[in-house]
């Protein structure tokens, strides 16, 4: 158990920069998930923490000690790889004991620790097996076991669940979370899967193009995404983005789609400017025909998911909008009147950054029809 600190981590491969200065402070026992699309630099960041890559600039501190120049073996970390990276010629026992033997632990202690860890992971019966005789889920467990048995200061996970089938992935996800809680080891977990990110992380680092776009708890990221990228990346189906214009008083936004929505409080210091209006599909309300301020949505495609349906439609402005509803599914080709509740709007300025709004939750939304 230890803290982890990243200070201004930059990395370039040749002349191509992949990380543009990452700062992160991880508290003891915290579970941090680094999430981003492929190529955003998240795996590189993890490998820099592991010591498998060297940072071009910046430093890595584990437990307060600068380990930037240290080899992986001197950092007291353990890593779980995407393809498990088990030693194919060794039994499960030997796989787990490898690191302990190198550290020169007494035979009895190695035996004891491996058995205890194997029991904890339900691998007790499999210790004599070779990796190729195991299923994907079992291999995954062995890889976890190999990390746990070492009792390291820091766990690193590099997309450990992406090679498993969907059902097993959900199961292992819960298991990893439980284990991490129980062991209380500081963890860094890289994934491209936002569900994994939301469910596992105490805090998320949302990365894009080598930058940490937002570092916050999962709910904060979901409720108040720092910019358009984060807003679009976290949440499924993705947030809708519409063109709008903040009126000259700054207290209402005119949508290109055809109506103006009054804001409870204007964003600080921004008036009379083009903005991007974001709203999550689950926040769009379908209302009765003739409701004040309703926008007609031409239904293009309906995807029933069982408990709910996704409605993909086109607004009068030609912009696309997705609605998530547990309503009985309307038919494609019909027109639905919808309302965008002001308290659920996200406003992003021209630079893509979130404009802070002071929502008064119960303020009656003043609506100027037509605009």
């Amino acid at each position: 158990m230890a803290t982890l600190e990243l200070q201004g981590i930059r990395k370039s491969f040749g002349t191509v920069p992949v990380l543009h200065g990452i700062d992160l402070h991880v508290a003891e026992g915290e579970f941090i998930v680094i999430v981003g699309a492929s190529g955003c630099g998240k795996s590189t960041l993890l490998r820099i923490v592991a010591g498998l890559e060297t940072a071009t600039e910046g430093s890595v501190l584990i437990g307060g000690a600068d380990v930037t120049r240290l080899e992986p073996k001197d950092r007291d970390i353990a890593m779980v790889f995407q393809n498990y990276a088990l030693y194919p010629h060794m039994s499960v026992f030997d796989n787990m004991a490898y690191g302990l033997r190198i550290r020169g632990l007494p035979r009895a202690e190695i035996e004891e620790r491996v058995r205890r860890t194997a029991e904890m992971l339900g691998l007790g019966e499999l210790l004599r097996r070779k990796p190729r005789e195991l299923s994907g889920g079992q291999r995954q467990r062995v890889a976890m076991g190999r990390a746990i048995v070492r009792e390291p200061k820091l766990f690193l996970f590099d997309e450990p669940l992406s090679n498993l089938d969907a059902k097993l992935r959900v199961q292992m996800r819960a298991e990893i979370k439980r284990l991490q809680r129980r062991l209380g080891v500081t963890s860094l977990y890289v994934t491209h899967d936002q569900v994994e990110a939301m469910t596992l992380g105490d805090r998320l680092v949302v990365m894009n193009g080598g930058r940490a776009e937002q570092v916050a708890t999962p709910m904060e990221v979901w409720r108040e995404p720092a910019n358009i990228y984060v807003a679009g990346f976290i949440g499924a189906p993705a947030m809708n983005f519409l063109h709008g214009r903040l009126c000259s008083e700054g207290d209402a936004v005119d949508l290109r789609a055809g109506c103006a929505i009054a804001l409870a409080a204007p964003p600080a210091g921004v008036k009379n400017a083009e903005v991007t209006v974001g709203i999550r599909p689950e926040h769009v309300r379908i209302c009765g025909t003739g409701a004040v301020g309703a926008i007609p949505l031409k239904v293009d495609l309906v995807e029933p998911l069982g408990a709910e349906s996704l409605i993909h439609g086109i607004l009068p402005s030609g912009e696309e909008l997705t609605v998530r509803t547990n309503d009985c599914s309307p038919l494609a080709g019909t027109t639905l009147p919808i309302v965008l509740p002001a308290e659920h709007l996200h406003l992003f300025g021209e630079d893509g950054r979130r404009l802070r709004l002071a929502h008064a939750r119960n303020a009656a939304a003043r609506v100027r029809a037509g605009a």
Partner: protein
């Protein structure tokens, strides 16, 4: 898993096999059968009289102390060639596997010796080993080591071993490099994180994972040293001095082509044939069983 293809006609599969079988028959079974037949005969040097002598050729062969020497020399020679060629190749492959500058050029250069004819290779090595004109020969004599592979049997054996191994390094290098590159990088990284030093990683992870390649190459190298080194030996030492480098294959050639003792030469060929069959059998057996991990 073998896939079974069903042919409607009985003749077609045989027809498709025919070209391959015909080639094998004409170029292997026929001469092999002839060799076996000749090994039971004795012929005078002018080919006028031939008589059937049964196994006498074989009995004489194994009673001949020079032939037993030859077996021993072949044994030492083959194992040394295999060991030298493989260890050097493995070392070079490990170096080439790292991301080095100009890796492509390095690899190409290493593969060259394989494309050189044995006789040419031998001439090349003469320019190295020759006591008066060779680089190494002159150097050794210069520092007071009495080096003359044409007089000293041990030195001659060393010379043919080095020259033969050199030619085989390229081949081994290619296989070892491919073997190394098929080891997942993450497995090595996992070992590094587990605390293993580079040397320990090599002996506990890399080398065991290379074992199928190593075993395959061992058989191939032994076969090479047994049968394909004739050219090198002939050009460098001609089996001498005092038969110190006369391997089984070289002796079969001398007895058959130079001494015109067809019966004995055929018997020797049959012995060699049995040896290669044994080696191949071992190889197939283990490759089939996959001595992996």
């Amino acid at each position: 898993m073998r896939k079974k293809v069903i042919f409607p006609q009985v003749g077609l599969p045989y027809l498709l096999l025919l070209p391959q079988l015909a080639i094998t028959f004409v170029f292997f079974f026929l001469p092999a059968a002839q060799a076996i037949w000749f090994s039971f005969l004795r012929q005078d040097a002018f080919g006028i009289r031939t008589e059937f002598v049964g196994l006498e050729n074989f009995v004489e062969l194994f009673a001949d102390p020079l032939y037993r020497d030859s077996i021993w020399i072949t044994f030492v020679f083959s194992l040394s060639v295999a060991a030298l060629a493989m260890s050097v190749a493995l070392g070079l492959a490990v170096l080439a596997d790292r991301h080095i500058r100009g890796a492509a050029a390095y690899k190409t250069l290493l593969i060259w010796p394989y494309a050189i004819a044995p006789a040419v290779a031998a001439v090349l090595w003469i320019f190295i080993f020759h006591p008066q004109v060779g680089l190494l020969g002159r150097f050794l004599n210069g520092i007071g080591v009495a080096w003359d592979y044409k007089l000293n049997g041990t030195q001659a054996l060393i010379a043919v071993i080095v020259a033969s191994a050199w030619k085989q390094v390229s081949y081994n290098f290619l296989f070892f490099l491919a073997g190394l590159q098929s080891i997942p990088r993450s497995v090595l990284e996992a070992a590094a994180i587990d605390g293993a030093s580079p040397a320990r990683r090599f002996w506990t992870v890399v080398f065991p994972l290379l074992s199928p390649t190593t075993f395959f190459l061992l058989v191939i190298n032994l076969t090479y040293a047994f049968f394909d080194t004739f050219g090198v030996i002939d050009a460098l030492t001609k089996g001498g001095p005092a038969k110190a480098t006369t391997t089984l294959i070289y002796r079969a050639y001398i007895d058959g082509r130079v001494n015109l003792d067809l019966g004995s030469s055929s018997a020797q060929s049959v012995v060699l044939m049995l040896a290669v069959i044994a080696l191949t059998a071992v190889q197939f057996r283990f490759i089939e069983r996959k001595v992996h991990y």
